[in-house]
């Protein structure tokens, strides 16, 4: 469980997140959605300690995110971002194994886990020795996901993991990702700006606007009981939603 208690974040004059209380359930998939610049990525960065909150506290499984706890916490959290953030000087395998090697895990255990992850993410094992520049966009996202899952984290944070992919690959990866989520049964927080994708993945949807949580609930809750005209307009603006 991830708890945000009166958390706000300010960058100079801009307030990226107003004081917010938010509870993200363990073992379920929570989707953060909202227009560009509403503070979605900021929330993920606060959770993993890349940003320090201006006010308030964040707890992960009861443990407060602080300077002294952040390294240990990060090792129990997987983080995947849109651009992949792969290390260009390392091969796919080296990217995935970097942290495990740093922690001196036994070689056999690492190899077993690597093969498991290839199978889970449908990544071809013979491409493991390639460098990021030699991989397709979809393959890069798979490597990024494997890297995030390597240490068997309790929490997985994904910031628009499929944003940079073409629609065909994206649709296939959505299916695969959902299957992975179901197999893992982890606490998952996923950011997207696509309501269809949100509805597809989410147990809970958190809709944000201009640094505030506007409404949270299932897609049905949002559709049938919109908390404001913004919610209705936002849903309306997302075409093709009726199909879900």
């Amino acid at each position: 469980m991830i708890e945000l208690e009166s958390v706000s974040k300010r960058f100079g004059a801009t307030i990226a997140l107003y004081e917010t209380d938010l509870c993200i359930d363990a073992g379920r998939t929570t989707v953060l959605i909202g227009p560009s610049g509403c503070g979605k990525s900021t929330i993920l960065r606060l959770i993993i300690g890349l940003l320090e909150p201006t006010t308030g506290t964040i707890r992960i499984e009861g443990q407060r995110v602080s300077e002294s706890s952040v390294l240990a916490l990060r090792r129990r959290i997987g983080y995947v971002i849109q651009e992949g953030g792969l290390f260009a000087h390392l091969t796919a395998a080296q990217n995935v194994l970097l942290m495990a090697k740093h922690l001196n895990q036994p070689a056999r255990q690492m190899q077993t886990r690597l093969r498991e992850l290839c199978e889970l993410t449908h990544f071809p094992e013979n491409a493991l020795t390639r460098y990021p520049v030699e991989l397709s966009g979809g393959q890069r996202q798979r490597v990024s996901l494997m890297r995030a899952l390597m240490l068997q984290p309790n929490v997985l944070l994904l910031d628009e993991p499929l944003g940079a992919l073409d629609p065909m690959v994206r649709a296939r990866l959505q299916d695969e990702l959902k299957e992975i989520f179901q197999r893992l049964q982890q606490t998952i927080v996923l950011v997207t700006h696509d309501m269809a994708e949100a509805g597809f993945f989410a147990n809970v949807i958190v809709l944000l606007n201009e640094g505030r949580v506007v409404q949270s609930g299932t897609l049905d809750d949002l559709r049938s009981r919109p908390a404001s005209t913004f919610v209705r307009d936002f849903l309306h603006a997302q075409r093709g939603l009726a199909a879900i």
Binding site: A72, R74, I81, A88, M99, H102, R147
Partner: protein, 487 residues
């Protein structure tokens, strides 16, 4: 403190001192080279092991080196001792001079014989036709074309006071380069110029020296200055040279030295013997210069790397400190290299030594390394930065395992730039007598001898190219394959 110790270690390894060896120094002009070789041969004949550091620099540098013990003796002139070393306006008696030098721990031999002072020279035929043999004869020829060196025009004991003393009123006087002046004399575009009384060109061009009938020019009698702690047997050997060299003989030796560029040979001529070891081995000399050059570049670059990369890492973070680091290393780069050397030499710990040259080169090598390290790190995309942190890597592990490898290509390019700058700038180290490929360049410039200049210039240019290739090769070793694939 630590870096001082490292500098010191490098210095120590650069100048390996052997205990029983006598080191002779000389200034950077032909006559001094020849006298240095004569001293070397005389001492060798007396059974000493001798090294001759040729053409170390000007008076100040030789004097400092003598007092600092870097050399044991060098040839000097009485006029220079009075004016530049003891800095008195009035002529001193020999005894007074000895007493003053003794206070500095330095001894002086008797006079070798010749007086190398300023002189006015004319072509023999022209002088005969006009009936001129002494300076006072010039009073009757105010129309003569005079071409004297700029230095002579300005000096306290130069042209202006000379004309006052002799009551000369010459109409056509101009400044002209020393070497060019001889050519101008030969073609007749000037009639008279200044020279040194032992100048080899006097004999070569069939010139006559006008008699200084009013004794205007100060005495520049040649002597050797030596450290008082030099072995007394060596002192006795040097004293044996006293009174053995008159102007004509010195001129002949100078002429021989300039013609052959072989100072040992000229010295051998003095002793009437064949040179013991013909130091004509050009490749050996170039090899030694190159080796010294590489020592200077290598040591300064090494310091540049171990100081520059950490500074660059610090400067990659935003803030005032970073601006300060970048601005400071930028400012250092804009100081002309000559000025930087001149500023460092008088400081304690530096002086006339390889340390000074290495330190100056080190300062020049900093900026490219610092700047490239900083930009290389700053150019790493935020996504990659955040991914490294989000994995749970400690900050130093992020740096070593991710950021530095990603910036390696840019950092290496900075080191390469520094290396090439250093190879070029290190030629100036010869100005403070530290050697390297600048040595033949600078002595060639002083002696107006292009072949000597090229002996330094060509290897230096080749060395720069080689460094370029070398670093292109290093690219393949230090830059991870994943980064090189992009091309």
């Amino acid at each position: 403190m630590k870096s001082a110790a490292i500098l010191f270690a490098i210095f120590a390894s650069c100048s390996v001192a052997q205990p029983q060896q006598i080191v002779v120094g000389s200034k950077r002009f032909t006559e001094s080279y020849v006298l240095g070789e004569i001293a070397k041969t005389a001492l060798q004949n007396a059974g000493f092991t001798v090294e001759h550091k040729q053409g170390m620099g000007g008076t100040i540098i030789l004097w400092q080196a003598l007092r600092g013990g870097e050399i044991a003796l060098y040839p000097e002139y009485t006029g220079t001792i009075t004016e530049e070393i003891l800095k008195t306006k009035h002529p001193l008696s020999t005894d007074r001079m000895r007493a003053l030098l003794r206070q500095e721990g330095i001894g002086m031999t008797g006079e070798l014989g010749f007086n190398n002072t300023y002189a006015l020279v004319m072509r023999r035929d022209r002088a005969a036709k006009l009936g001129i043999s002494k300076i006072s004869d010039l009073r009757n020829h105010p129309e003569l074309n005079i071409g004297v060196t700029h230095e002579f025009l300005d000096r306290q004991d130069g042209w202006v006071p000379l004309t006052t003393r002799y009551g000369l009123q010459m109409h056509n006087v101009r400044g002209i380069d020393h070497a060019l002046g001889y050519a101008a004399l030969a073609t007749g575009s000037i009639d008279l110029k200044d020279a040194y009384s032992t100048d080899a060109k006097i004999a070569e061009n069939d010139l006559i020296v006008l008699d200084d009938d009013l004794h205007f020019f100060p005495q520049y009698k040649a002597v050797f200055l030596y450290r008082l702690d030099m072995e007394s047997r060596a002192v006795a050997t040097m004293e044996k040279l006293v009174g053995t060299l008159d102007e004509a003989r010195m001129r002949r030796l100078n002429s021989e030295a300039e013609r052959t560029k072989n100072y040992a040979l000229a010295a051998a001529l003095y002793f009437g013997q064949k040179p013991i070891s013909p130091s004509n081995d050009l490749f050996g000399k170039i090899g030694r210069w190159t080796l010294r050059h590489l020592e200077l570049v290598g040591a300064s670059l090494f310091l540049g790397i171990i100081v520059g990369i950490p500074l660059g890492i610090r400067a990659s973070r935003p803030g005032q400190v970073s601006n300060f680091i970048l601005a400071t290393s930028g400012v250092v780069q804009t100081i002309p290299s000559l000025a930087l050397l001149a500023l460092l030499v008088p400081l304690p710990f530096f002086g006339i030594s390889p340390v000074t040259a290495i330190f100056a080169l080190f300062l020049y090598s900093l900026l490219p390394i610092v700047r490239n390290t900083a930009t290389g790190l700053q150019d790493i995309p935020t996504a990659v930065r955040e991914s490294a942190a989000a994995l749970g890597l400690e900050p130093h592990a992020q740096l070593w395992k991710v950021f530095l490898p990603l910036a390696s290509r840019t950092i290496l390019a900075g080191v390469k730039t520094s290396a090439i700058i250093d190879v070029g700038t290190a030629t100036l180290a010869a100005l403070i007598g530290v050697g390297g490929l600048g040595e033949p360049i600078i002595s060639g410039l002083n002696l107006n001898d292009y072949s000597t200049i090229l002996q330094g210039a060509i290897p230096a240019a080749l060395l720069a190219l080689l460094v370029q290739f070398f670093f292109d090769g290093l690219d393949r070793i230090f830059v991870p394959k994943g980064l090189r694939l992009k091309e």
